[in-house]
């Protein structure tokens, strides 16, 4: 391959590399939301949790010098915010949509407030595995720098897929999400299960946030997230609440997000902002294409979107 004329191949490689980088936060946030929604609750506050995770992860990594400790703390802060959402939604006559929007604003606001001192300093980054070692092409080497969190995310998607069918907790979460009456009749505490699932979902979203600040783009500032937390909610619907589909959907969205920078890297700069809008256009396009006025969504947990008065 001629390094001076990489053309279409270059774009493709850049998109693949970008997909792997950009998809990781989508993957974690969507898996978290998948778990929460499977239990019958919607958490729209994931955007706030994501930003909070990015800030706290970056801050801890900077203060301790350990990016992995940062990831852990990011997850824990997400877990705390998730528990807060879970607790509030468990109260009688609380609407989870409204609470979620409140949490989103609260999480981002809190992160901006606490994160001011970390805008300038440089925290250590997460390590990546150079799967492109076999190639002499710098593009391929760059594209195949795969972060460990991405691999963990894939493993998690498979683990969740397996666990929803093969473990006690998997069945309980699905029961609570699909029929609260059935769950109550079997003696499960709907409120406890949902609160735990929301907390665990928050943990994953927090980790997704730490990826943003600790690997790609790799710094903390207030414009770090561009709505990944919100798009992950759409992504879960599009993935039909299946963890493996979440993985595929994350890659697709990541690839779409990498299109603009990839084109720019080969010199196509006109319409850069238009290409940057690709994930959002894709979101809208997919929602329109997969929805129908006649069919109800197959696979949707039965308790989801029930408006409690």
């Amino acid at each position: 391959m001629d390094n001076n004329d990489i053309g279409m191949w270059g774009i493709l490689i850049a998109v693949i590399g970008g997909a792997i980088r950009v998809s990781t936060p989508f993957l974690f946030v969507s898996l978290g939301e998948c778990l929460t929604e499977k239990s019958g609750r919607i958490n729209l506050g994931l955007e706030g949790i994501l930003v909070m995770g990015a800030m706290s992860g970056y801050g801890i990594a900077y203060l301790t010098g350990s990016p992995w400790l940062g990831v852990l703390v990011a997850g824990l802060s997400g877990c705390v915010l998730g528990s807060l959402h879970g607790f509030i939604c468990g109260l009688p006559r609380v609407n989870d949509i409204a609470t979620g929007i409140g949490l989103m604003l609260f999480g981002t606001g809190l992160a901006f407030f606490l994160g001011k001192p970390f805008v300038q300093p440089k925290a250590p980054s997460l390590p990546a595995i150079p799967f492109g070692f076999w190639s002499s092409s710098p593009q391929i080497k760059a594209a195949l720098q795969v972060n460990v969190l991405f691999l963990l995310g894939i493993a998690l998607a498979f683990a969740m897929h397996w666990a929803f069918r093969n473990t006690r907790w998997g069945l309980i979460v699905r029961t609570v999400g699909d029929s609260a009456d059935a769950a109550l009749a079997m003696g499960f505490s709907v409120r406890t299960v949902r609160t735990l699932a929301t907390a665990a979902g928050g943990f994953l979203a927090g980790i997704g946030g730490s990826f943003l600040s600790l690997y790609y783009p790799g710094s903390w500032n207030e414009s770090l997230s561009s709505g990944q937390g919100l798009m992950a909610v759409a992504l879960v619907i599009f993935a039909r609440w299946r963890p493996l589909y979440c993985f595929g959907a994350s890659l697709l969205f990541g690839g779409a997000g990498a299109l603009g920078p990839a084109l720019q890297s080969v010199g196509i700069t006109s319409g850069y902002y238009l290409f940057n809008a690709a994930p959002y256009v894709l979101t809208l396009g997919i929602m329109i294409a997969t929805s129908s006025t006649k069919h109800s969504l197959a696979g949707a947990p039965g308790e989801l979107g029930v408006i409690r008065a």
Partner: protein, 516 residues
């Protein structure tokens, strides 16, 4: 393993100021089928919910197999071997039969070994008198299969006292007879004790050994079924109130065709076809009944005729003109309806009773002139209808959702039958209502027919159809498979067609609706 005995002594349950269960003492004998009979709201469900740990009673004792027990949670009840088959299914719709059974066991291991579970379940199913396919998803099961699965679930869990809550509300007669017969046989073999909650005498007289009658939370009578007549039980159940019998059907020739469908096809929620090109014709002055087990396309058919669901193919005609369910056409042709679940399908729940009663006529004289509403006329109309149809409401301004089921039904009926009616479309009009309300609503439907309305009546209750209809069509998997005049209908043949065993005996009457 012997059937258990259970005594309830002085049980009282209060919800705020309301006493749902008032000092009730009942002795449930081992190896017997014991019926709890009563109208809706009599306290039957409250009593058993206390027994299975859903509620905890304010006062009273429970003696199980000779010793006093405290049942505080469903787990306590399960540990004692008390299991309940609910009226609403408690199966998880997105899971398979197998997953639901394993899940119901409660003490699941962290990791489920599906190969062993499947083997054990197959062995269990083979021992049972009736089966449900293990690999099927719950949402694809018919109501009868779900009911059987609920009973199987209790047996799978080794429950020895089984409580059935209105077990036959969703089954065909034959399915009900089969399921209850099997349960009774198991009781008489001293394997289980059974409590059946019901308001149907037929189930009590055919399957129960003992009966206790509840009214307004109090025990008002009990005894051996063999020693009581249905009349005695009815008197205990409803007290001294007068039951209004159904208005007699005037014998007359049916008139011109008012409502007809030609090759009508309707889709379901999942994008499949629920109603396959059906033809029917309802004439002036007749009630055409549609019988069928729920889930065979009745709901979609009615929703389509009411304009809630698009026509996927074919057409609907009213009085010979194409009908597309617009408000203009509805008012022109005087089409009225009483859909099932009227609070959901025919009311604005938070709007007042008066407002709901005006939904058909608020845009016409005398309630409106031009864009203005006449609140005075609306209020007096509502007062008149509330009195005439005996709607129990605190005031015409109360939100209609605050009314009980029967009174919502009456309020909607008042709206739909207060003017001249040419076509009336009715679906399961008395589902879950008590005696007095049933008789009242039936008589009003028959009265509309006698005045010349064409009535289409869909019901899952065959007795209701036999009582009211002039002709009966049986729907199975979205097609009409049998037609018979109601007067000399053979219920066993209808039941077979409802269950889809169409091939057994030849059809008695040729479907005349097809020719119309």
């Amino acid at each position: 393993m012997a059937a258990p005995a259970l005594q309830v002594i002085g049980m009282t349950k209060r919800f705020g100021a309301m006493t749902a269960l008032d000092n009730v003492t009942i002795n449930f004998e081992p190896g017997k089928v014991h019926a709890l009979l009563g109208e809706n709201g009599a306290g039957k469900s409250t009593l058993v919910k206390c027994l299975v740990g859903f509620y905890s009673a304010n006062e009273g004792q429970v003696i199980y197999d000779g010793r006093e027990v405290a049942i505080k949670t469903p787990f306590d009840a399960a540990a004692l071997g008390i299991g309940m088959v609910y009226q609403q299914f408690t199966l998880v719709p997105s899971m398979t039969v197998e997953e639901n059974l394993v899940l119901s066991r409660g003490n699941l291991p962290m990791k489920i070994k599906w190969s062993e579970e499947t083997k054990a379940l197959r062995a269990f199913m083979a021992r049972m008198p009736f089966q449900v396919p293990l690999e099927k998803q719950i949402s694809s099961l018919a109501a009868g299969e779900k009911q059987r699965l609920e009973i199987l679930k209790q047996l799978y869990l080794d429950r020895r006292l089984i409580i059935l809550d209105e077990p036959t509300s969703v089954l065909t007669l034959e399915e009900a007879d089969e399921a209850l017969g099997l349960i009774r046989d198991m009781a008489h073999r001293d394997e289980i004790s059974v409590i059946i909650i019901t308001h149907k005498f037929r189930e009590v007289t055919s399957f129960a050994d003992n009966v206790s009658v509840l009214r307004r939370g109090k025990l008002v009578g009990e005894g051996k079924v063999a020693e009581l007549s249905p009349d005695q039980m009815a008197e205990m159940m409803i007290g001294s109130r007068q039951i209004k019998t159904s208005a007699d059907k005037i014998v007359h020739e049916a008139g011109a065709v008012r409502l007809e469908t030609i090759g009508l096809t309707v889709g379901d929620d999942g994008g499949l076809t629920a109603v396959h090109g059906v033809n029917l014709a309802v004439k002036s002055g007749e009630i055409l009944g549609i019988a069928g087990v729920s889930g065979n396309g009745q709901r979609e058919l009615i929703e389509c005729l009411l304009g809630q669901r698009p026509v996927a193919g074919g057409m609907v005609k009213v009085k010979g003109e194409p009908y597309s369910m617009t408000r203009r056409e509805i008012q022109k042709h005087k089409i009225f309806s009483l859909p099932e679940e009227p609070l959901r399908n025919a009311c604005v729940p938070n709007m007042s009773v008066a407002g709901n009663m005006a939904l058909r006529s608020f845009d016409q004289q005398p309630l409106a002139s031009g864009p203005l509403l006449h609140y005075g006329a609306l209020g007096s109309m509502a007062k008149r209808l509330i009195a005439e149809f005996r709607v129990k409401t605190s005031s015409p301004e109360a939100p209609i959702r605050t009314l009980s089921g029967g009174n919502v039904q009456r309020a909607v009926l008042a709206r739909e039958l207060s003017a001249e009616v040419d076509v009336l479309i009715v679906a399961n009009p008395v589902f879950g209502l008590d005696f007095a309300a049933v008789a009242d609503i039936h008589s009003r439907i028959v009265a509309a027919r006698n005045r010349g309305a064409a009535v289409l009546l869909v019901s899952e209750d065959l007795d209701e159809l036999l009582e009211l209809a002039d002709r009966i069509l049986v729907i199975f998997e979205g097609e009409f498979v049998y037609e018979t005049p109601a007067a000399n209908a053979d219920t066993s043949i209808i039941g077979r067609y409802m269950a889809g065993h169409a091939s057994t005996p030849a059809a008695v009457a040729a479907p005349e609706a097809v020719a119309a």
